[in-house]
Amino acid sequence: MSEPPGAAVSLAEAPSADAPSKPLAAQRVLPLRRPGRWIATAVVLVLVAQFVHGLTTNPFYQWDRFGYWFLRPTILDGLLITLEVTAYSAVLGLLGGVLLALARLSKSPVLRAVSWTYVWALRSIPLIVVLLFLYNFSALYKTLSVGVPFGPAFFSFDESKLATDMVIAVIGLSLNEAAYAAEVVRGGILSVDQGQHEAAAALGLPKSYQFTKIVFPQALRSITPNYVNQLIGLVKSTSLVFYVSLLDLFGTAQTMGATYPGDIVPLLLVVTVWYLILTSVVSVIQFYVERYYARGASRNLPPTPLQQLRTGLTDLRARIRREAAV
């Protein structure tokens, strides 16, 4: 290809246009302009603004009714039930999960098989079915007795007295939660390096100490994010306890909605906002728990949001000062 005669000339001239002012080393590199990114940002901002506009101005949402219901004692009572059911099920589910995981990792084939079957069954059955089964349990078994299978019973309970709606809900959720937690815990335990088990054994540490002080704390690092994920699912699953006639947050809103049909939408908004708050609280707790278990795993702990904000502001200030100086 033949070059146009002007090309070589302009190339030679180009530097001479700016160069005399400053040596190359002192010149700042101009950042690349990214128009595509600006356009995308603008489009998204418009969409967000439209959404917020709709949310605030559409009379359909009835924000005044939302304000009326948000802190109503009946709603707060429901919220309390949701919190109680979640708390009990989370703790019992995790305990069950640890036991199931240990059984699954044991050398006994019977324990392994039982644990595997439990997890398989409970992960297969929908939670609502488990809850309804338990709800009708007192019809299936009038009394619960402790004794030798097919043999004499040592003592027995009247099942209908024992099983309040709350107990049924917690048992159902815990049974379900334990199956998922078992896999989370098992994964966590397997993620601990084999060398840790060997070092603990070589030091002659007692078996229980090996698990509680050496292996489990290290496993918790990978258990935490997965279990919190589980926990957020659990918070929402508690809305199913409405079907075993326990009035949780969702259940209360549902009943109130039946009584005040005009307020169904604001009531759903109240429920939504409360679930958002609960999930946010769980996420904040997760951050600090993860940070705690990161001790030793990473050389420096991840900064807290406050620290991030502070360094962010410092950086911004430094940048502005730099820009101003140029």
């Binding site: 030091l203 002659g204 078996k207 290290q218």
Partner: protein, 265 residues
């Protein structure tokens, strides 16, 4: 290195280690084929051999991290992992084996420090967990031992904040915290950068001079010549030859030993 000379602890007696006709196999793969070895109290024994020759397995059989299929090991005339019942050997309970391991120090190639515990707690954990010392006494001992390996200023650090050489020195202090009569070293410098090898070898050398029984698997031939009372050369799960370094390293009698030394020297 600021390591002070290690004083032999008054309450620790250097142990005798006896390995009797030990065989170990995984499936059809024979790792150890009848090893007989006696390590006298205070003796420093270096085990050499090509990779896969069974030297690490031998070390792990001594503290019963691996069970031998045939044969037995005793430390100070106490059988490890088994007990005599009539003319048979019966496996000990896990608890009893763990108690025996507390009298045998073990230092791993990859340190295997507990990453979630501070350096001080790594060293103090075992004496507390096994009920030998109260927490304050164990921490006092840990401080003392860390001072001896030159890490008095690192007590509050976490293992991953240390260099490999420092981590291995912590691991040695951790093994010493149980006041073992014998310490087993499984390639203690193989995972280290060359420039960090010296600080770990210096600590082991100090330890050797205190009269503790040491069994060391290593590839550092120069180090073996310097500190070993006896060098044992293993190949194919058998002891090919053993003797003082001046014989095994300088005038090896077996072709296999000569061949190995010519490759690693």
């Amino acid at each position: 290195m600021t390591a002070k000379t290690l004083e032999p602890p008054a309450d620790v007696e250097a142990a005798t280690v006896e390995v009797h006709d030990v065989h170990k196999w995984y499936g059809t793969h024979r790792v150890l084929n009848g090893i007989d070895l006696t390590v006298r109290p205070g003796e420093v024994t270096v085990i050499l051999g090509p990779s896969g020759s069974g030297k690490s397995t031998l070390l792990r059989v001594i503290n019963h991290l691996e069970k031998p299929e045939i044969g037995h090991v005793s430390v100070n005339d106490e059988l490890i992992g088994v007990k005599r019942q009539g003319d048979r050997l019966k496996e000990l309970s896990e608890r009893a084996i763990l108690a025996q391991r507390g009298r045998i120090g073990f230092v791993f190639q990859n340190f295997n420090l507990f990453p979630h515990l501070t350096v001080l707690d790594n060293v103090a954990a075992a004496p507390v967990a096994t009920g030998r010392l109260g927490k304050p006494e164990a921490r006092e001992l840990a401080r003392e031992l860390l001072d001896r390996v030159g890490l008095a200023d690192k007590t509050d650090a976490y293992p991953r904040q240390l260099s490999g050489g420092q981590q291995q020195r912590v691991a040695i202090a951790r093994a010493l915290a149980l006041r073992p009569g014998v310490i087993l070293f499984d390639e203690p410098t193989s995972a280290l950068d060359p420039e960090l090898v010296g600080e770990v070898l210096a600590v082991i050398k100090d330890l050797a001079s205190t009269g503790t029984t040491l069994v060391i698997v290593t590839h550092e031939i120069g180090f073996a010549r310097e500190i070993a009372d006896r060098v044992v050369f293993i190949d194919g799960g058998r002891i090919v030859e053993q003797g003082p370094p001046s014989e095994v390293l300088d005038k090896p009698r077996h072709e296999r030993t000569r061949d190995f030394l010519s490759k690693v020297l």
